[in-house]
Amino acid sequence: MSNLAISQKLQAGIESQSAGNQYLTFMLAGEEYGIDILRVREIKGLENATQIPNTPPHVLGVINLRGNVIPVVDLRLRFGMERVEYNQLTVVIVVRAQCADRERTIGLVVDTVSDVYNIQSEGVHPSPDFGSAVDTSFVQGIASVDDKMVILLDIDKLVREEI
């Protein structure tokens, strides 16, 4: 699906506040991840971020989002996946997260955005426990859409661990 088509779908999804169960999905090393569409502020192209001293490699730095300074995190690196060259499909999903009684805006770098799905809560399965092998603390659940597996992320938890 083209980026334009997704942004239109995204807009529609955000506007129909009734949704609640709509998820924006994106790809990371062939896996499909979903986040609550109401948390998505915008999708933008990747730009040069200003590096922050003494931060882990997945924190790419801070960027200027219309006068606001927001951090950008590479989710591939965050999840311990292999680093790849950024290309024209690479995007930053700007999300709002609630942590420490404040709303924070943060950019997530992903391989590409994929689609917008309606996922009912009964279709969400709890994430299996991999013990210490795989960190699943910020996985909200697993859902299947058209025989595909979508990993739903808990944005608040994810961002809280960055800050």
Binding site: N48, T50, P53, N54, V62, N64, G67, V69
Partner: protein, 705 residues
């Protein structure tokens, strides 16, 4: 109705908080000088305003409580009570109670009802002759006649034309009156203009009111108390004969004319449109007077009146509005510098007028920015004014005598800085009373006056505000501090320290020299927090002292946290901003002057000084480490001078500071971020943070790898 009012709640809270502060300040003054009647009037008026406001907004508990305070103040005003220190103390505690209730109402929270009930009954005990009078409607307004049961009153009431705009709803007053007894009213329509001239927010009506009530004149007056002085109210007592005549003309018919404001006429009040004037020849001549005259002593002392005159020159604006304005101006500055940068690239002969325009734009943008920053500047008196109360309570508790003097309360600083300086300042003043000032007998033995002095001063000094807390107490025992420092392992056994370094120990975590730990201070937490808080604001705190004669704590703070003059420096592909104020000098690096120290650090010999070198790209673990490092920027940190190695110096410019914490977290060595002319983010260095980081980090004052 209550829903409509809720949007005004914030205004009420804000005003009520101000009024509580006024009350508190005046009460404290009252302790020093009880002779000034103005003072008592101001307190009375403040209590009265809070009562009225809270009743209007449905906070009956606050209204009930302040009513008792008001009544008590009224008795003091009348002279039937003297404001003994004891009584003033109780009133001070009551202001705390009011403050707590307001805070609770604001947070939609509960308050400690037991405390309030105790305070209220304490207050009530003092009322009247000192006996327990639970609730008194008796108003001691001079000349108020106690009404005999079932008196008729004739009231002429013409609210001011701007009543609606000042939120004095005449209907509310009529309703209140009707609660006192049987009320019949006749509307006076003579001032009603032609429909074409009619203004919806203007009040044109007047009323003739007949009230049959058991209450006395004071109770009636109290209802009209809310009006400003342009409203006309005349209240007269009517003999039975004249009342009978009056009643005969009071035909109860609904108003047939177009009603300008239908809500004004309540169903319970019978309005009469008959235009002929009511005649009551046997009635005593009416005392027509502005309402204020019902309480003569209140004249000219009304804080509302003062507020009115200053209303022309100031308005209340939410800080978020100002912050938005400041943000926008910040953006404008960025856009402007971006345009200027682009303009520079054009050949002069082609773009002469464009460049002129850009220069002008730059000038106006600067002016605009300065003016906008000025809006947030507030006098430091807001913080200073909290101190008298604190010192009063504290010195009473400790049995000390302390006199507080304040100088330079009008010195202005940024609101955000002021909000954050309150706690540290409070702590230092507390310490001055607790540790500084000696007990009266000790002072007498030393040949000092029994009353200790604390001087709180503020002034501007080269872009900073300097706040000093001076006490003439015992001073700091240098040797004791040093011994404590040695015992705590902060100072080596044979280490010799300069005085400044010894006093500096006071700011170390876990350090306290108080002989006894009291619940006031002396637990050893605090001074380090004070310093940390002040440093977080980009300021510093230091102490000097003469043992036996007193101490001076000096706080230096930037006037604003929103902008900083910065030097932009280049480090490989990275760009950082160094606050200009910390820069001592920048020099071309002469490799011959670099010497290593114990293979762990590097020192640079600059004239007769050795300055530790910080390699920023290592310290900050930057990717693409720079290897040019041709320049050294010498900066002054709280740990002394430090040399920062950079590739190049770029522009010097004023930058708008954006918090890193709002979307990320605090980063060591970084004070904030800013957006440069090209739209990119640059980080602003926190020089003290960089120095601290260098001391603790392996890559700190390090050798090049």
């Amino acid at each position: 109705m209550s829903d409509d009012l809720s949007e005004f709640h914030d205004v009420f809270f804000e005003e009520a908080e101000d009024l509580v502060e006024t009350m508190e300040a005046e009460l404290l003054e009252l302790l020093n000088d009880a002779s000034d009647p103005e003072r008592i009037n101001t307190i009375f008026r403040a209590a009265h305003s809070i009562k009225g406001g809270s009743a209007t907004f449905g906070f009956a508990h606050i209204a009930g409580f302040t009513h008792v305070m008001e009544t008590l103040m009224d008795e003091i005003r009348e002279g039937s009570k003297t404001p003994t220190p004891d009584l003033v103390d109780l009133l001070l505690k009551s202001t705390d109670g009011v403050r707590a209730m307001i805070a609770a109402a604001k947070a939609k929270d509960s308050y400690d009802e037991a405390i309030i009930a105790t305070l209220k009954s304490e207050l009530e005990k003092r009322l009247g002759s000192g006996t327990d009078v639970p609730h008194t409607q008796d108003s001691p307004i001079p000349g108020a006649a106690k009404a005999a049961s079932g008196t008729h009153w004739k009231i002429q009431f013409r609210p001011a034309a701007d009543s609606f705009r000042t939120a004095n709803d005449p209907l509310a007053i009529l309703q209140e009156l009707s609660k006192l007894g049987t009320l019949s009213s006749r509307a006076l329509l003579d001032e009603l203009p032609d429909l074409t001239q009619y203004r919806f927010d203007e009040q044109y009506l007047g009323w003739h009111l007949d009230l049959h009530t058991d209450c006395d004149e004071a109770a009636i007056h109290e209802i009209f108390d809310w009006l400003d002085e342009t409203s006309v109210v005349a209240i007269e007592r009517v003999t039975d004969a004249s009342m009978a005549a009056g009643q005969s003309t009071a035909v109860a018919t609904p108003v047939p004319v177009a009603q300008p404001a239908p809500a004004l006429i309540a169903a319970t009040i019978v309005a009469e449109a008959a235009a002929e004037p009511q005649t009551a020849p046997s009635a005593p001549s009416p005392i027509v007077s502005p309402v204020q005259d019902s309480a003569p002593a209140r004249k000219n002392t009304d804080p509302d009146a003062k507020a009115k005159s200053s209303q022309n020159t100031s308005i209340r604006v939410g800080t978020e509005k100002i912050d938005k304005l400041i943000n926008l101006v910040g953006e404008l500055v960025i856009t402007q510098s971006m345009l200027t940068e682009e303009g520079e690239k054009l050949p002069a002969e082609l773009a002469e007028s464009l460049k002129e325009g850009l220069a002008q734009l730059q000038r106006y943008t600067r002016e605009l920015q300065e003016s906008v920053m000025q809006i947030r500047m507030v006098p430091i008196s807001t913080v200073f004014n909290r101190m008298p109360r604190m010192i009063h309570d504290l010195s009473a508790k400790l049995g000390k005598k302390v006199d507080l003097k304040m100088v330079g309360e009008q010195t202005e600083l940024d609101k955000t800085v002021m909000e954050s300086i309150g706690d540290p300042l409070n702590h230092l003043v507390r310490n001055a009373v607790d540790h500084g000032i000696e007990m009266p007998d000790v002072r007498r033995e030393k040949g000092k006056s029994e009353t200790g002095e604390i001087l709180l001063s503020a002034c501007h000094e080269s872009g900073n505000i300097v706040i000093q807390i001076t006490d003439n107490g015992g001073g700091i025992n240098r040797d004791k501090v040093l011994a404590k420092g040695r015992a705590a392992g902060l100072v080596g056994a044979d280490e010799i320290l300069a005085d400044a370094a010894i006093y500096d120990l006071l700011f170390q975590p876990g350090f306290s020299t108080a002989d006894q730990v009291s619940d006031v201070s002396g637990r050893g937490v605090g001074m380090d927090v004070v310093r940390r808080n002040i440093q977080a604001l980009g300021g510093s705190v230091e102490v000097s002292s003469i043992y036996g004669e007193g101490s001076i704590f000096t706080i230096r703070l930037p006037l604003t946290l929103a902008i900083v003059d910065g030097q932009i420096v280049k480090l490989g592909q990275h760009v950082f901003v160094i606050p200009l104020i910390s820069i001592v000098e920048s020099i071309q690096l002469d490799r011959k002057q670099v010497s290593s120290l114990a293979a762990r650090g590097e020192l640079y010999r600059l004239r007769d000084e050795y300055i530790p070198i910080v390699r920023l790209s290592q310290l900050f673990s930057l990717s693409d480490p720079s290897n040019q490092e041709q320049l050294m920027v010498v900066v002054e940190s709280d740990q002394g001078k430090v040399g920062l190695l950079v590739d190049d110096l770029l522009a010097q410019q004023q930058v708008v500071i954006k918090s890193m914490e709002s979307n990320f977290r605090k980063v060591d060595g970084i004070a904030g971020a800013t957006i440069l002319g090209n739209g990119r983010v640059a980080l602003i260095m926190d020089i003290n943070g960089v120095a601290a980081l260098a001391r603790t980090s392996r890559n700190g004052f390090g050798q090049a790898a």
